[in-house]
């Protein structure tokens, strides 16, 4: 469909060519048939032009056809005069027929074009609807707003084949060559950017801008809602932890304090027998140690919960660290049997040795606390595949299945004995995970528990001179 001067010129050429062709054909048939009958051939040319070029061109073709017929074939020939009256009527009929046929053909042509345009538009709408449905599910599939916007654009791109970008900003931020179409959003101002030459042109982008804006509003709302929910959940958890902490303080801090205060009062009499005096001093010593341990645990836990563990990683000989932990626990449990199995040299692991030692001494301490006093606690370290695994096994009563999930939570005790602060395993998990390791519980009710701590040992340092 040409346009402007070129279109008109092209149409004129076609009109002249059609009339010339008709004239040629009539000239061949002229000796055989009367001119009134042959005018149908000119009519065909008019129809052809009407179909190809529309009504105006058809009118021109009819006029040119009449003139040519008159000039070439009607007596007197080669003059624009008509001798026979019958021929005047024939030409007039031809002209009217040409106009009517031309108009009909042009209308049919316009209708066909319109139908084709509608079909194309319907197909485009259908494609856009599918695209938007895909975009909607992309928004619902992810949680984070920027991920949602990215998948929105990706979904539009994969269904339309043209690259688009969605950005939230008050002023458009198009890069070179992009067109920017504003999105009529309610929550935050945004723009959709596209390539002007792609199949999704400005018009299509403008059409999908409103539904896209609706989706973006949903995404923004969802993010706001998610943030509020997460904050509420965090606040709730913090509340639970604080309540549990207050509970622990009221019990676990008060009992050693009471013992110390009582022992101090007991030391007042001057004539106290020496062994009573020694016993009271030992009580103060032990209970002060318990208090200190609890305060250290609370401090560690608060660092873990605040994400401030900051391990100083170093090459660690896990066997050496386990030995250190064992030595510190033995000072507190001199009489208790502990089996140590370090099966040969282990690969080094990258971790904070002081934090690892705290993990192992906590686990060994726990194991002793929850085992009968004559049952040995077993500590082993082995290399398994690319990992170094330390296992601490007790012969206690095991942990009931219902409690296994919560033993690593602060105050999530493995039983109801009330032994320990309930913080040790939470601290262990915090330190292990901060150092890139894993901690797992394997427990059999009635037959004791094993805590397995493992660290990756795939990377090893350069050889040692």
């Amino acid at each position: 469909m040409g346009s402007g001067v070129w279109g008109i010129a092209l149409a004129a050429v076609e009109v002249i060519a059609a009339v010339a062709a008709a004239t040629g054909l009539v000239a061949i048939l002229d000796p055989i048939a009367p001119i009134a009958g042959l005018s149908v051939i000119y009519l065909l040319a008019v129809v052809l032009i009407a179909v190809r070029r529309g009504q105006a061109a058809a009118l021109a073709a009819a006029a040119l056809g009449v003139t040519t017929m008159n000039f070439v074939f009607i007596e007197p020939r080669y003059q624009l005069a008509i001798a026979d009256r019958g021929n005047v009527v024939a030409l007039a009929v031809f002209l009217v027929a040409g106009l009517v046929v031309g108009r009909l053909a042009a209308t049919a042509r316009d209708r066909a074009a319109e139908a084709e345009r509608r079909a194309r538009q319907a197909a485009a709408r259908e494609r856009e609807a599918g695209m938007l449905a895909g975009a909607a599910s992309a928004v619902l599939a992810t949680e984070r707003l920027d991920a949602q916007l990215a998948s929105l654009a990706a979904s539009v791109e994969s269904s339309s084949g043209s690259a688009v970008r969605v950005g939230l900003s008050s002023a458009p931020a198009a890069v070179a060559g992009e067109i920017a179409v504003p999105l009529p959003t309610d929550t935050r101002p945004g723009w959709v950017y596209g390539d002007p030459d792609a199949s999704l042109d400005r018009e299509s982008l403008e059409r999908i801008a409103r539904p896209l804006a609706g989706l973006i509003d949903i995404a923004v709302e969802r993010e706001r809602f998610g943030t509020r929910t997460a904050e509420a959940e965090a606040a709730r958890r913090a509340d639970v932890a604080k309540t549990a902490l207050l509970h622990a303080i009221s019990h676990d801090l008060r009992s050693p304090l009471t013992a110390i205060a009582t022992a101090a009062a007991g030391l007042r009499p001057r004539d106290l027998p020496e062994d009573d005096r020694a016993a009271l001093l030992a009580t103060i010593d032990t209970e002060a140690g318990r208090l200190a341990g609890l305060v250290d645990d609370l401090l560690d836990l608060s660092r873990i919960e605040a994400g401030a563990v900051n391990p100083r990683t170093d090459w660690c000989d896990v066997g050496d660290v386990v030995a250190g932990a064992l030595a510190s626990v033995r000072r507190r449990y001199e009489e208790r049997p502990i089996e140590l199995d370090l099966g040969g040299p282990l690969p080094l692991v990258e971790a904070d040795a002081a934090q690892l030692e705290r993990v192992f001494s906590n686990l060994i301490d726990n194991a002793l606390k929850f085992s009968p006093s004559d049952a040995p606690v077993r500590v082993s370290a082995t290399a398994a595949g690319d990992r170094v695994v330390v296992r601490v096994t007790d012969r206690g009563r095991g942990i009931a299945p219902s409690r296994r999930a919560s033993v690593f939570e602060p105050f999530g005790r493995g039983d109801e004995s009330g032994k320990g602060s309930g913080l040790g395993l939470a601290i262990c998990r915090g330190f292990v995970e901060a150092n890139g390791g894993e901690i797992q519980l394997q427990s059999n009710s009635g037959r004791g528990s094993t805590f397995a701590v493992s660290f990756p040992a795939a990377a090893q340092p350069s050889p040692v001179p």
Binding site: A288, R312, D320, G324, L326, P345, A354, E357, P465
Partner: protein, 230 residues
């Protein structure tokens, strides 16, 4: 106040702790002075140097690490640092800045007195290159030999080098950096895996039960000490 024994400067801003330490240290035969801040500590040492310092890492006007750095500019007097759980990084910084040992709060007084004895003994024995005895182990620094229960132990030059540094500071904590620098030289201070490997080798030769060492003790993440474990 009689001041026959060694004089110890206690640097801590907690009056209760200072009071407790004063009693404990006097009882053990030490003369005691106290300073409550970084500045007081530096002034006290400048006025009259004590024989040893017990230094809290958290002071109202700064860190005990700064005190170590300042003092090490001009004096080698022994420093024992008091640290709490959570102070680990400061503790290692203090040791690397020249502190001789540390003790974690809350501490038993026996432990504190043992550390003080160890750092003071080192000063007394400086220049004594004859040999060091730890339990059944004898390290002859002059002859460069080691015997365990009278039988000679064969160590590689690097193993002996490590053991010699630890023996010279017998009972005292030697940091990883210091060991690496003294045995391998400058530039090797962070190659801690050298220590892991060689310490394991030394233990297999001198320890009755290498997996549960009695003599060559690891302070996880800090360093090593040569001591007869209780």
């Amino acid at each position: 106040v009689t001041e026959s024994g060694p004089r110890v400067l206690v640097v801590d801003d907690e009056p209760q702790i200072v009071r407790g330490l004063r009693v404990v240290l006097r009882d053990a035969g030490y003369g005691v002075e106290a300073a409550a801040s970084k500045q007081e500590a530096l002034d006290a040492v400048a006025a009259r140097a004590p024989d040893a310092i017990v230094l809290d890492l958290v002071l109202p006007d700064g860190s005990g690490v700064d005190v170590c750095v300042e003092l090490r500019r001009w004096t080698e007097l022994p420093i024992v640092v008091l640290s709490a759980v959570g102070d680990e990084h400061e503790k290692v910084r203090a040791l690397d800045a020249g502190a001789d040992d540390y003790i974690t709060k809350p501490f038993g007084t026996d432990e504190l007195l043992a550390r003080l004895r160890a750092v003071l003994r080192r000063v007394g024995e400086d220049g004594n290159d004859a040999g060091v005895t730890v339990g059944q182990l004898f390290i002859d620094l002059a002859a460069r030999t080691v015997t365990l229960d009278g039988a000679e132990v064969h160590l590689t030059p690097i193993e002996f080098g490590l053991l010699r540094v630890l023996a010279r500071h017998q009972g005292k904590l030697v940091t990883q950096r210091q060991l690496l620098r003294e045995v391998w030289g400058r530039g090797y201070e962070t190659e801690t895996h050298y220590l892991r490997v060689h310490v394991a080798h030394i233990r297999s030769k001198i320890e009755p039960e290498p997996s549960q060492p009695r003599y060559l003790i690891t302070e996880s993440g800090v360093g090593y000490r040569l001591v007869e474990a209780p």
